[in-house]
């Protein structure tokens, strides 16, 4: 891949592609209601710090507010599980209209049963509680910002949560050589939309706090479309024939942080879960 970047033949190809691309740009651009920032080659400029609003990170399906993610049977009605009782109102799940097109994730029966089991054991099973890398698409709508670095030759996203990173390759390096939490991503432009194909996942990441999940066979097709200088319409289509009966799509808006001197913070979080993961193995004096 690196050697291809340097060859003169490739450079000629870039010029031809560039000419084709810039010829197509105005037609798409005229459809926009607002001027969006563009790079020197005329692509939408997605550089910046972005974050989702709303409560999709709790549960991507439409949901009523509930007392806790993890409930156990009570003497009268189900009550919050002991681990989350201390959090009171802050442990309760706020309501959300959901981001799943059509409202419901089309699970196969066995996969739906896994979701229910995940939900009943949220505290012990949600990988994000352990500060594991959030995966795709969950990283996008975690309640943490992320930053896009877009140049003529590269597209890189770094997420505040767990310091997760994705180098979105602009040339396909071929099938992923190993599975990974954040997957292997390859991006291309379709008009003004940046389309990312992500695959090569471990299957261990969840999709939200409510136990929604997929397997290592998951393929995610993301579409990033700027609808104003401050908004990205984000869509992600999930395909995983062992988990879902058909492909399904989420859509949400990403908002740009326009504060002066905005920056994403460092939330590695590994150091914050040591007591959770290793506290039980401490020496007792």
């Amino acid at each position: 891949m690196s050697s291809a970047v340097r060859s003169p033949k490739y450079a000629v190809g870039r010029v031809v592609l560039g000419l084709l691309a810039v010829a197509l740009v105005p037609a798409y651009a005229q459809a926009q209601s607002m001027d969006i920032p563009r790079t020197v080659s005329g692509r939408p400029d997605l550089n910046g710090i972005w974050q989702a609003l709303g409560n999709a990170h709790w549960d991507i399906e439409p949901h009523q507010a509930r007392a806790a993610l993890q409930m156990v049977p009570g003497p009268v009605v189900p009550v919050p599980s002991q681990e989350v009782v201390a959090f009171g109102a802050l442990g309760a799940v706020p309501p959300g209209m959901g981001i799943v097109e059509g409202g419901e994730i089309p699970y196969l029966p066995a996969a739906r049963a896994i979701r229910e089991a995940n939900r009943e054991n949220w505290v012990t099973l949600d990988p994000a509680i352990k500060c594991y890398l959030p995966g795709v698409p969950r990283a996008t709508y975690m309640p943490f910002p992320f930053q896009i670095f877009q140049s003529e030759r590269a597209f890189f996203i770094t997420y505040e949560f767990a310091g997760a990173d994705r180098n979105i390759y602009l040339e396909d390096p071929g099938p992923p050589q190993v599975d990974s939490w954040m997957g292997q991503s390859v991006g291309h432009w379709e008009g003004d939309t940046f389309v990312v194909e992500a695959r090569g996942f471990t299957g261990q990441a969840w999709i939200d706090r409510s136990g929604n999940h997929a397997s290592y066979q998951l393929r995610v097709t993301e579409r990033y479309t700027m609808t104003s200088p401050y908004h990205i319409a984000y869509e992600a289509t999930m395909e995983d024939p062992g988990t879902f009966s058909r492909p399904w799509t989420i859509s949400l808006t990403l908002y740009k942080n326009v504060e002066d001197n905005a920056r994403i913070g460092v939330f590695k979080c590994v150091e914050f879960v040591e007591e959770l993961l290793y506290g039980q193995y401490r020496k007792i004096p």
């Binding site: 690196s2 050697s3 970047v5 340097r6 003169p8 490739y10 450079a11 000629v12 870039r14 010029v15 560039g18 000419l19 691309a21 810039v22 740009v25 105005p26 651009a29 005229q30 001027d35 790079t39 020197v40 080659s41 005329g42 550089n47 990988p127 500060c131 594991y132 890398l133 670095f149 877009q150 140049s151 003529e152 030759r153 590269a154 890189f156 770094t158 310091g163 997760a164 990173d165 180098n167 390096p173 050589q177 190993v178 990974s180 939490w181 954040m182 261990q204 001197n261 920056r263 994403i264 460092v266 590695k268 590994v270 150091e271 040591e274 993961l277 290793y278 193995y281 401490r282 020496k283």
Partner: protein, 365 residues
């Protein structure tokens, strides 16, 4: 620090690229800019015509530092005493062939008649600490000595002139003693907090993401650089640590905010990216409250960056020190170093220690 390599600015296109603003409503201008931008990012054709390497430039006219790089090298951080900065051809051959023969020897077939190894193994690199029993499948410290300005180097440190990290100040020695005294209350395996930061999967062993960004002598000394007008992002493969360097000036973090990779600000001095970092995390490899790291990145060849660093910390070192590290083009992609997610070692180490304590207690009874 050594001489800084400068290259003349590319005369065509760079000024225009800096001044023009794209307006999508003007097809003609967009078309022109598209051609200009493609010309800027494709100096390979210019190179083919002149036969001479021309530094690739970004749309805003700066040298393009982007790509995948490796700073793996057989040259150590500090110079062995009595050696000169520049290695002779014989010394280079001894170091590089020495490493090669070790790799070949260890990759050889095992003796089928060998005895069972003693409990605990025989590997000399098995040490009682963070690094235990890795073989050559894991280890990739590099195959070449560091070449800077055409010179094979005996050490990465070039300042002071003896190639050694200067002595600690009295204040720093006292800090170290206090820290050792505090940690001395605990056994090596009593708590996660007394284990090294790399074992806890916070950052690399060594100082990969740094700053300063140094090879760790073991493996994965790989980096991806992405460069925009406002930022330079450097991702170190260890431990998927992305440094965000802001270009320009702005409010620094208050002194009590000390993120893992510090607070980095960059500016261009001619064709050199200069980065100043403060607010380093107290658990990082090289750090103190008053430490400042200056880094200089120069694109010196199609397949090499020169990385220079200076550490300025009068409370810790008796004089400033620094060095030069070549970063060579990496003909490969980086992998996700998901250290924490697979960190069975830390819980096993602690559980093992608790098990031994139980066994010892039973023996006593």
């Amino acid at each position: 620090m050594g001489s800084t390599v400068r290259y003349p600015r590319k005369s065509v296109g760079s000024e225009g690229g800096r001044k023009m603003i794209v307006r999508h409503s003007a097809l003609f201008l967009v078309l022109c800019l598209g051609i200009a931008a493609e010309a800027l990012v494709a100096p390979a054709s210019a190179q083919a015509q002149s036969g001479q390497w021309v530094v690739r430039r970004t749309a805003d006219g700066h040298p393009d530092l982007q790509g995948n790089w490796s700073n793996a090298t057989l040259t150590p951080l500090q110079r062995p005493r009595g050696q000169a900065l520049v290695l002779s051809a014989e010394e280079v051959a001894r170091i590089e062939q020495g490493r090669e023969s070790v790799v070949i020897e260890r990759a050889g077939a095992s003796d089928p008649d060998r005895e069972a190894p003693p409990a605990g193994g025989t590997n000399p690199i098995c040490i009682d600490g963070a690094m235990t029993c890795y073989n050559d499948v894991f280890i990739d410290p590099g195959t070449r000595v560091a070449i800077v300005n055409g010179e094979p180097r005996s050490s990465l440190v070039t300042m002071p002139a003896n190639g050694r990290v200067p002595p600690l100040t009295a204040e720093a020695r006292q800090r170290r003693e206090e820290s050792q005294e505090f940690n001395g209350q605990f056994g090596l395996y009593d708590h996660p907090e007394v284990r090294p930061v790399a074992e806890r999967c916070f950052v690399s062993f060594g100082s990969n993401a740094g700053p300063p960004m140094l090879p760790n002598g073991w493996y994965n000394n790989n980096y991806t650089i992405v460069q925009t007008a406002g930022h330079v992002l450097i991702m170190a493969e260890m431990v998927h640590d992305a440094r965000i360097i802001r270009i320009g000036d702005g409010p620094r973090l208050p002194s009590h905010m000390r993120p893992w990779l510090g607070d980095s600000w960059g500016h261009w001095e001619g064709d050199v990216l200069v980065v100043e970092t403060t607010n380093l995390h107290p658990l990082q490899s090289y750090t103190s409250k008053s430490m400042k790291v200056i880094e200089r990145f120069s694109r010196v060849a199609e397949d090499a960056l020169l990385y220079e660093f200076t550490i300025d910390d009068p409370t810790t070192y008796t004089e400033p020190w620094g060095g030069q590290v070549p970063m060579n083009a990496l003909e490969d992609e980086l992998y996700e170093y998901a250290c924490h997610e697979g960190n069975y070692a830390l819980s096993n180490i602690l559980q093992g220690a608790r098990y031994e304590e139980r066994v010892d207690a039973q023996d006593l009874n």
